[in-house]
């Protein structure tokens, strides 16, 4: 299988006619129905919607973690739906960073090692310095050798942000990045996220329940029962 890099004016993420159905005990269940969208390079997009509206599924498909039942997705010019899992993994490795609601730090690794992991996987030179550097940028230079258990929720999410940005992704997918944090900490995390997004020119696609966070994005789309309800440009 092959993917054709498209022209530079093409969007960073594009989906057209996405449908996702799964088989359950009660028969086929449609999670996403005919979704088409585009995210330009450097743009920030918020996906909002009620629980069970299909936000996470959509995010997973856009990021190349999962495949749609029909429709096509491209990421930085690579048509993900034409690639096998190994091909998609390559695309993810080169283009994608993630931030999760539950942080997903590895409990056995220190903050530094958690940030180090993707750099080591990508064979980055001076990974250790780079990782320490990014932890410094998120304000954790004093916490390099702490284990996730020894960090507060906000600190854990900062480590996760450092990990996501450290490999210099073109697009960052965030799944409820402030969902597990109190509002003050959440606000700080939002600041940090957008600061880095601006600084590094990263495209940002995030899922959120939080209006405050959705407002900060350039655009937001709303999902309901697997359908795209509205696409709103934030001023």
């Amino acid at each position: 299988m092959s993917s054709t890099p498209l022209m530079s004016s093409t969007p960073m993420v594009a989906a057209s006619g996405l449908v996702k159905t799964v088989t359950t005990y009660e028969g086929a269940l449609t999670i996403l129905q005919d979704i088409s969208l585009e995210v330009a390079k450097g743009e920030s997009l918020a996906i909002v919607g009620a629980s069970g509206s299909g936000k996470s599924t959509l995010l997973g498909i856009l990021a190349g973690l999962d495949l749609p039942s029909s429709g096509s997705v491209s990421l930085n010019g690579h048509i993900l739906t034409n690639l096998d899992e190994e091909g998609r993994a390559r695309v993810r490795a080169e283009n994608v960073g993630f931030i999760f609601q539950s942080f997903q730090l590895l409990p056995g690794l220190t903050a530094l090692e958690n940030v180090l992991l993707p750099l080591e996987l990508h064979g980055v030179d001076n990974a250790r310095t780079a990782a320490a550097d990014f932890l410094g940028r998120v304000g954790l230079s004093q916490r390099l050798h702490h284990y996730p258990q020894q960090l507060s929720g906000g600190e854990q999410q900062r480590v996760a942000i450092a990990r996501a940005f450290a490999s210099n992704p073109r697009v960052l997918f965030a799944d409820e990045p402030t969902g597990n944090l109190d509002s003050t900490t959440g606000a700080r995390i939002i600041e940090l996220l957008f600061e880095l997004n601006r600084e590094l020119g990263t495209t940002l696609v995030l899922i959120t329940h939080e209006d405050r966070l959705a407002q900060r994005c350039q655009r937001r789309i709303e999902l309901s029962a697997g359908r795209l309800l509205a696409s709103v440009e934030n001023v």
Binding site: G60, L65, E94, V96, F98, Q104, P118, L121, H122
Partner: protein, 829 residues
Amino acid sequence: MLALRLLWRNWRSGEVKLLAAALLLAVAVVSGIAIFTDRLQHTLVQESNALLGADKVVRGSHPHDPVWNQAAEEAELHHTTATNFASMIYAGEHMHLASVKAVGEGYPLRGQLETSTTPFATEPDQIEIAKGIPAPGEAWADSRLLPLLHLQLGDKVAVGEYELRITRVLIREPDSGNPFSFLGARLLMNAADLPLTQVVQPGSRVQYQWLLAGEPSAIERFSTWLEPHLNPHQQLVDVSGNQRGLGRTLDTGRRFLLLAAVIGVLLAGVALALAARQFANRHVDQVALLKSLGTSSGRIRRLYFAQLFALALVASVLGLLVGEILQRVVAEGLWQAYQIRLGSATLYPYLISLASGMICLLFFALPALWFLPFVPPMKILRRELAVSSLQLWLQVALAFLAVLLLVLLFSQDLGLALSVIGALTGVFAITGLLAFGLLRLSRRLAGGAGSVWRLALANLQRRREQTLVQIVVFATAIMLLLTLTIVRTSLLDDWQGQLPEDAPNHFLVNIPVHEVNTIRQLIDERRYQHQPLYPMVRGRLTHINGVELSETSVAREGVFNREANLTWTDTLADDNKVVAGKWWPQWQSQHGLPGVSVEEEMAEEAGLRPGDRLTFSLGGLSMEAEIASLRTLDWRSMRPNFFFIFAPGSLDEYSPTYITSLHLPAADKAFINELLRAHPTVLVIELDRIIGQIRTIVNQVSDGVQLVLWLTLAGGCLVLLAAVTSSIEARKQEVGLLRALGSPRRLMLGSVWLEFSVLGLLAGIIAVLGAEILLASLQHWVLETPIKPHVLFWFAGPLLSAVLIGGLGMLSCRSVVNTPPAIVLREAA
């Protein structure tokens, strides 16, 4: 390199420690057992070969072909000769029909000659180990020979035409069990003097021995080459042919060690599989994360498998070290207790230890981790996504394959390997069914129970699949341990029972009819334990059902082809058992012939059945008898045993002599002198040395068995630990929640304790049932020891298992119950 870094981080966070411990133990068990068994086997073979004076002996009425010497040297074997014959020897007016042995340089190739300057010396400081053989012109004499011929050391005796100076007293020689020593007191001389005596003439009754020793493989190769070159008057003998009883003990010991090694590895393997499963489950999230970061499945597979192999390598080397240390400790213990130095081990046990580490890894650990690379990356966003791990049945099948491979590796015996697999399959199936049944029963009983009980049993029911797996694992571990413990105990009892402290250690042979009463009186006066005095006639089997022996299939078999001791008696010795036909007086002859009872194995070899006719030649006279019965007997009993027992009176006319065996305490050795002075025709066969040797061997094997049992127990404990800790993860969250909801600490601990105790009890009941079945089949088919029920274990097994597993469970969960619920919940999340 990244894999190594990840491994180090995993190690630091404690995630691979159980895995490493299980692997280490597997290798330690195998290496400990394999190296020790290898050394023990070599030592035992050498020690038992010492009873032969060599590794193999060509024995016959003709000397060996001198051409073979060169072939033996080319095969890098040591060789020498021993020529046995009976000859009247003279010292002045005294004479004695001595059993003379003329030996070549290097004799004995195995074992030692012990000599002294004091006749009948028993004190170690009086006994010296000979550095060679008697010099030409010299001879060493049996203690008894000195009083018989009124000799002092330095005196001369005449053997045929040549005079030899007696320079030392021969206290012990390795191959004294040789039938030729029946004839009289030993005189050991140099083979170089043999022609000068002119005793050995054509037609003389002489037994020639060509002794061989060397590396076992070289011996085997040479034997294969030699066998077709032997003439009908020669046979190649090794210790198993020479010492039937001992051979059997060694064989049983070996089988036990093998069995224990397999059980030990199996337990370690199960622990490994459980630990690997636990490791894999903990790493699902990590893999999903790595995949979301763009790591390909192939890379993940390489990363994890590289970690596993690196871990296996380190654990195997350490395990080998532990095994080596353990076996050295036991070997040192042997040295302390019995002054026995074990020989050094070959490379093979080290190799199979490392190989078994790898086999365990490949077949027990890898299948559990197999699914990790297939974890969908979407799992990182949707935790509820199911991950399909390798089917349980496939994992079990692979584990069985591993056991098959391991048994094959250890025993090179496909039949044994298949029967172990068969037994295991049966055990697992029965255990699973029983566990299922008992679990259902416990649910019914839980209905009216108190809250602690309800909570505990509800927990067991809710995690039914996990509970079933745990019961099967616990039950199997306990069953194997029980089996091993009982087999060990009964083996040791059986071996010790064969040679009780008061086992007969001297045979008195050639007692004339008119001296029977006085000798019996003499023994009784001293209150020595003795067997009845059996009449004995030497005779040779010549015809079976009228067909000449030389025409039959067994013509060349040793037991048929030599003179046998024939006896008659009306009472069957208590270690003899009639297995076919009838014992007199119930027996009726079909052909009007006197009856004879034949030893079963011999009968089987020649296809003899009750009613068959046997013709014997007794001192030139022919007599025919009819087989009345077939008998089993215990060759290890050190009592007079007979292939042929006749009906009372049938041999009266063939001038019998009498035979008996008695137990002579070591301090009373001088009694022999007294007896021999009064009854010079009586021959005494001293078996105390052989008995001592056998006892030493039994002790060595027992110690090996003990070590193996401890290692296996460690394996069992590790399995229990692995099974208990694997369920702790799942429990954390629920305990934290219940604690947060206000459940008292006591209720939590109580229910955890009860839950595991019930689990232990159920597993214990199944284990005892299974162990009895397993034991019965093992004892019947593999170890050939009698089957007995073990009532004590029926109660102790389940109880101990409940206490042990309940305790382990509570101990593992204590930290969870004692930690503030908030922390537990946070960790679990």
